[in-house]
Point group: C2
Chain length 354, copies 2
């Protein structure tokens, strides 16, 4: 079978790291006999917005809705366009309209990447954050009353549906079950947020009954963030609501020093819609155009895409190539204390793939 | 003037660290000519609950509402009583009914306390987290529909009032203005939480105009937690909503290794009601009764109480005594690699006060 991939470089360094991502995808595809077809799209970018007054064409869903996956660079350019226009006009639209209800990110201590945590070695930290990606705290329900008076107030609802909560928990428990440690941690705050979070806990307990082989625990989000710093070795799979998952999936990579190179998947597990794979870093206007951006996040996202497509060997070969590349000072980009530029680093990973 | 302090030891190690807190308060009061009167109360504890079926007497507000401050140990014993009964029946009641709208916690790298962050030295990290303590995400507005069906959903509103937001921001800006760096950081998530958080940002901008001497910036909560780990030296005063402040004021102490010894104030700045000063650690059932609990959090909370009462010199003398005590291995408790018990550590601090 040939996989059809929609390629969207987007803004800023998204355009610079994308060629390296594609280079490595192709190298791994060749070694592992996977057939890929790329369709390139210029929308979901400031350039497109400037020309057309909107982030995406009206028929964006027809254009990319039938692809096997979307390989995405970065979007946003706050100095030129407000985040809520650029992000809610593309990325968040994908999540909602393609029902990508899982946001998945690895937290992994990699060789050659300086970690801010004292005394941790590669291999010590290796877990996944599973984030609910469509509802929860990111609802649009709410409003403002008595504007511009002393009585002014705003409200916004957190919304959790049985469907929304159960499916993300099922995904997280399944992921935990597939791993050697079989350990799931749930992020809650039921001692303070007294309606939605106890509901979340209730559903976790119900789901846990279906996965007797998985050990599970829960922490309130405040102490959980503390434990990411103090005991990152405690975790295997961590599941959280849209907001809690968002926080944990930035904090986790920060703890492993990998925030600039972490990948992510916005996943529709059923495959009714394409999933989006993108590096965690944004468009980084401050370093765009210099050819120094680190392409590892883009490349690693490609590995996650292969995994998702069921091409596990190809995905694994990329992750291993990344590890070997990072271990060599001369092949790393400047942000990691190396002296390679974007292309040199990308080529190095492509060469390492086997 | 004589200050009347309501003393509530509460549960577990709260009862063990309280005597040391009082010992040090008395030592500092004597040196600095401050007159203190203590009234002791046994409510807000599991023992009280067991006898009376409620956490506090009906007239708790009369009993402690006229004191100059409340010195509080710890409450909660999850194995015996659910958190929502113990905490919402006491601590959260104080916050709401005594309008303690500021929750204040220092984040400070102390001598002798192992920090999980690599390469940071005492003096490098020294900032305050200011948390809104009465509204926001901790509302009780919401509910459940279609229970036990596939359509089931729950909602809970985040509520931000002009009054509530402006007064916490004013407190935070004033605190920033009083410090050498005059720098305020606001925690937001306006790119994802699209109604309440943009409102928070709007009020920050409006308040900033009244404090032209304060430099301010804002970060989304996800990257802000990352920056606590990566760049804790960037911060001076950090202000956040009830939930964001809750998270940051656990994560901050974790980054400085002080989660077991951090103090906190639940403050009503106007003094219409008493403020509560309590260590951040809870009742710690697992180590209760052994005499090994670290009393520094309780003692440090006493320093914050003096500060709040306007007795700055007495407060400062306690913080300095804590620093000197922590610097000596033999005076530290076991959790910090020392060999002192609770009483020995408390006595050491009391002796150091000058
Ligand atoms: C116990 C809990 C309700 C409380 C809170 O979230 O406010 C605690 O975490 C705190 O920070 O004081
Ligand atoms: C840009 C923002 C809306 C987004 C989010 O909060 O979901 C980002 O932080 C992410 O994690 O993908």
């Amino acid at each position: 079978k040939q996989y059809r991939i929609a390629v969207i470089p987007g803004d800023g360094i998204g355009k610079e790291v994308m060629p390296e991502g594609l280079r490595v995808l192709e190298a791994a595809a060749k070694k592992h006999n996977v057939s890929l077809h790329f369709d390139h799209f210029d929308f979901s970018s400031y350039d497109y917005y400037e020309k057309h007054g909107q982030m995406m064409p009206d028929d964006w869903k027809e254009k990319i809705g039938k692809h096997d996956a979307i390989y995405f660079g970065a979007v946003g350019w706050p100095a030129k366009i407000p985040d809520h226009v650029s992000l809610w006009g593309s990325l968040i639209k994908f999540r909602r309209e393609f029902d990508q209800y899982v946001n998945l990110r690895p937290v992994r201590l990699m060789p050659g990447v300086p970690s801010p945590l004292a005394g941790r070695k590669p291999g010590d930290i290796d877990f996944w954050v599973v984030r609910e990606n469509t509802e929860g705290e990111y609802s649009s329900v709410g409003g403002r009353m008595f504007p511009d008076t002393d009585r002014e107030f705003v409200t916004q609802q957190t919304v959790m549906t049985r469907t929304g909560v159960d499916r993300i928990l099922k995904f997280a428990f399944e992921l935990a079950q597939s791993r050697p440690k079989k350990h799931l941690t749930s992020a809650t705050k039921s001692n303070g947020i007294s309606i939605t979070m106890p509901y979340w806990d209730e559903r976790v307990e119900a789901m846990a009954k279906k996965f007797p082989g998985v050990k599970w625990d829960k922490y309130h989000i405040d102490i959980l963030t503390a434990n990411f710093v103090l005991h990152p070795d405690w975790f295997d799979v961590v599941v959280g609501s849209n907001l809690f998952g968002d926080i944990l999936s930035d904090l986790g990579p920060a703890c492993t020093g990998t925030i600039g190179i972490a990948p992510s998947g916005n996943i529709n597990p059923e495959g009714d819609f394409p999933s989006v794979f993108e590096p965690v870093h944004g468009s980084a206007p401050d370093i765009a155009g210099q050819g120094i951006a680190n392409p590892i996040g883009m490349i690693w996202s490609g590995a996650m895409m292969f995994e998702h497509l069921g091409e596990k060997e190809a995905g694994k070969s990329i992750v291993e190539a990344i590890e070997r590349t990072l271990a060599e000072r001369t092949l790393r980009t400047k942000d990691l204390g190396g002296n390679a530029d974007t292309t040199a680093c990308g080529k190095a990973v492509a060469d390492m793939v086997d």
